[in-house]
Amino acid sequence: MKPVAITGLGVVSPFGAGVKAFWEGLSSGVCAIRPITLIDTEGFRCRIAAEVPGPIAGSARRSRADRLALAAAREALDDAGVDRGDREDAAVIVGAVGGGMLEAEAWHWRRMRGSTEPVPRPLASSFPSAHADVIGSTLGLTGPRETVVTACSSGAASLAMAADLVGDGVVPVALAGGVDALTRICFMGFNALRLLDAAPCRPFDRDRRGMSIGEGAAFVVLEDPARARARGARVYAELVGYGMTGDAFHVTSPHPEGEGMARAMRIALQGAGVAAASVGYANAHGTATAQNDRIEARAMRDVFGEGGLLVSSTKSMIGHTMAAAGTLEAVATVLAVSSELVPPTAQLETPDPEIPFDCVPRVAREATVEFAISNSFGFGGQNVTLLFKRAA
């Protein structure tokens, strides 16, 4: 693929609003997974998650997820210095799963318990495609507009799709990202699947017990590198390759040998013409389920060799933020490369001997990395690997 420049970042995370708070939290190894306040958790084994703290800016007539998305999208566009004139042609691609379901659930819960209140206004925006319409309309983006749903890899797929639009010359600049607010459906579903740890998740730990869920939003601005240079934009990193594959194996379980995951990583490398040995860091999908971490590690070993690169899971700090995860982790990877600091895996006390990598336990590591990958995998075997290169 043709490389594209990353010239703007925007984040609302469990560390609060802004890229700065996000990176300070990650590089300090702080865990933001706490008791859930947004929804009723009575009767469930796991009752914690990484919620975005405090009030969320924006109109109460918008869903929480729309407000998270708008704040992150604004920060990214402002950071890149994409002004009104440039926005008309800009693409907006949003990875989304839950949409405005948090509010829709609340209404449905009340209605099922006898309430006769009318349908509140945010309900019209309950579906994932609402975010792109809200962002596009509010921020004046009238290029190609897409909402992509590849489950837990949606936020990474959106960046790959945006890179294609920029690389094909369809648009000069694209805003791409992912968003999810906590929802009851997600919380209840992962509880039902018995995939949640009652304590904050411990990716790559021998004693890991499952994942923690979270919420947030992140967007990046992708741009033609020549255009970025010409206008003197700051380039954080370049997205130089991606791989998107399907396991075609099972609706919830990954392929037991990580075949689809390894194929996504190889395609990303091949598309960029980058040797596996040049990659210094992998921001893993690293959910802390017994199955994911073992299989992901196996796939990485097949591609990069044992101990071939530093691996960490930032989900240990911000939880699994669903459709936002792929973008939040892409931003973490970009910042790792540009600040020469690899964020740690929090709560990692006893590394699993089956995972043959240095998983950067608890403390961030200074490291100069030329190329880094971010892995994201979703239900249905939807694997996405993004490959970033340090800016020259």
């Binding site: 009767g43 469930f44 907006v92 799963v97 659930e105 449905h108 819960w109 099922m112 009318p118 349908v119 206004r121 309900l123 019209a124 579906f127 994932p128 495609s129 792109a132 319409d133 809200v134 309309s137 004046g140 983006l141 009238t142 290029g143 190609p144 507009r145 897409e146 909402t147 992509v148 749903v149 590849t150 489950a151 797929a157 799709m161 294609d164 094909d168 369809v170 009851r184 459906i185 209840m188 579903g189 992962f190 509880n191 039902a192 699947l193 998107m244 594959t245 399907g246 396991d247 075609a248 194996f249 099972h250 609706v251 919830t252 194929r263 979703g378 239900f379 249905g380 075997g381 939807q382």
Partner: protein, 320 residues
């Protein structure tokens, strides 16, 4: 320029299709797949059979949908509301994520390539086909099942009505076209139904859930540019009309403005039976089957401004 994009198969099913069950492979698909996933799997298998294409590793799948599997989603939450945590179904949970139709179809036909679910009001099926065509044209994908699926959930439909949404005819159904590189299709001796000559998608300024105030748009012009064609070469138009009067009028104005001074008869396959995202595949295949010298425009625009234009050439035009 890139690769030419051939249409080599089509499969569309809906609630009236009598033999959906015969396209399911085994007991597990019959009991585990939700209704919308069964429709999608059946449409996918039919399209591949129509194309004479064996399931193979590199096949991509792109599915457009308005609301995904809301029937299963509501059933999932009502399990909890009725009986507490013990009423939750692990089997239903994966269906609450909109990629469930694409995932179950990819598993059913062993498609291990790129798999994307695109969600949008009204235009989702056209968008998936346009995305697929652009991926094939750029050489990123060799063959793709592209289309969509929907199943209106009664609760969602009534809530939308209550919230003041425009009345729209909706139906349950799924549909795919098989798109391939023209060269690849020729090489394997496939029957070529037609060609996607150009495809583009853009947004027209409009507030969410509203129609826009302008008749000027860019997707049709961009698709014409990709096809290397002029507005005069368009002879037929398929629209997304489905009973939402103001949106239909807006769509007519957008299309007429883009093709001016030519005014063509518009036709929508969503009327009278109801629209679902799989009908985009039906429109594209129908447009191709009519052949002739002219291009057909398959067009869709949603409230909120999302617009898709696909230019289809029949097989006669494709051989030149």
């Amino acid at each position: 320029m890139g690769q030419r994009v051939a249409i080599t198969g089509v499969g569309v099913v809906d609630e009236r299709t009598p033999d959906v069950a015969t396209w399911l492979a085994d007991e597990s698909e019959a009991r585990r797949l939700s209704r919308i996933c069964q429709l999608t799997v059946a449409a996918g298998r039919r399209a591949l059979a129509d194309a004479g294409l064996d399931a193979h590793g590199g096949l991509a799948v792109m599915v457009g949908t308005e609301f995904g599997d809301m029937v299963s989603t509501i059933s999932f939450v009502d399990g909890y509301l009725g009986r507490g945590p013990g009423g939750l179904s692990a089997l239903l949970f994966p269906h609450t994520v909109m990629n469930t139709m694409a995932a179950t179809t990819a598993i059913a036909v062993s498609a291990k390539g790129l798999s994307l679910t695109l969600s949008a009001l009204t235009v989702a099926g056209e968008l998936a086909i346009a995305r697929a065509a652009s991926a094939i044209r750029a050489g990123r994908v060799g063959a793709c099942l592209a289309g969509g699926a929907d199943e209106p959930a009664p609760l969602v439909m009534s809530a939308l009505r209550e919230a003041g949404a425009a009345p729209e005819l909706r139906a349950a159904g799924a549909g795919f076209v098989v798109l391939e590189t023209f060269d690849g299709a020729r090489e394997r001796g496939a029957r070529i139904l037609g060609e996607i000559a150009g495809a583009a998608w853009r947004a027209v300024p409009a507030r969410p859930h509203r129609i826009g105030s302008t008749a000027s748009s860019r997707a049709i012009a961009a698709a014409l540019t990709e096809a290397g064609a002029s507005a005069a070469e368009v002879g037929r138009v398929y629209t997304s009309a489905n009973g939402d009067g103001p949106r239909e009028e807006w769509e007519r104005a957008l299309v007429d403005a883009a093709l001016a001074p030519h005014r063509l008869t518009h036709r929508s396959l969503s009327v009278p039976t109801g629209r679902h995202s799989g009908l985009a595949a039906h429109s594209v295949a129908t447009a191709a089957s009519e052949g002739g010298d002219k291009l057909a425009l398959v067009h869709a625009v949603a409230r909120g401004g999302n617009q898709v234009a696909i230019l289809v050439r029949g097989p006669d035009g494709s051989d030149s």
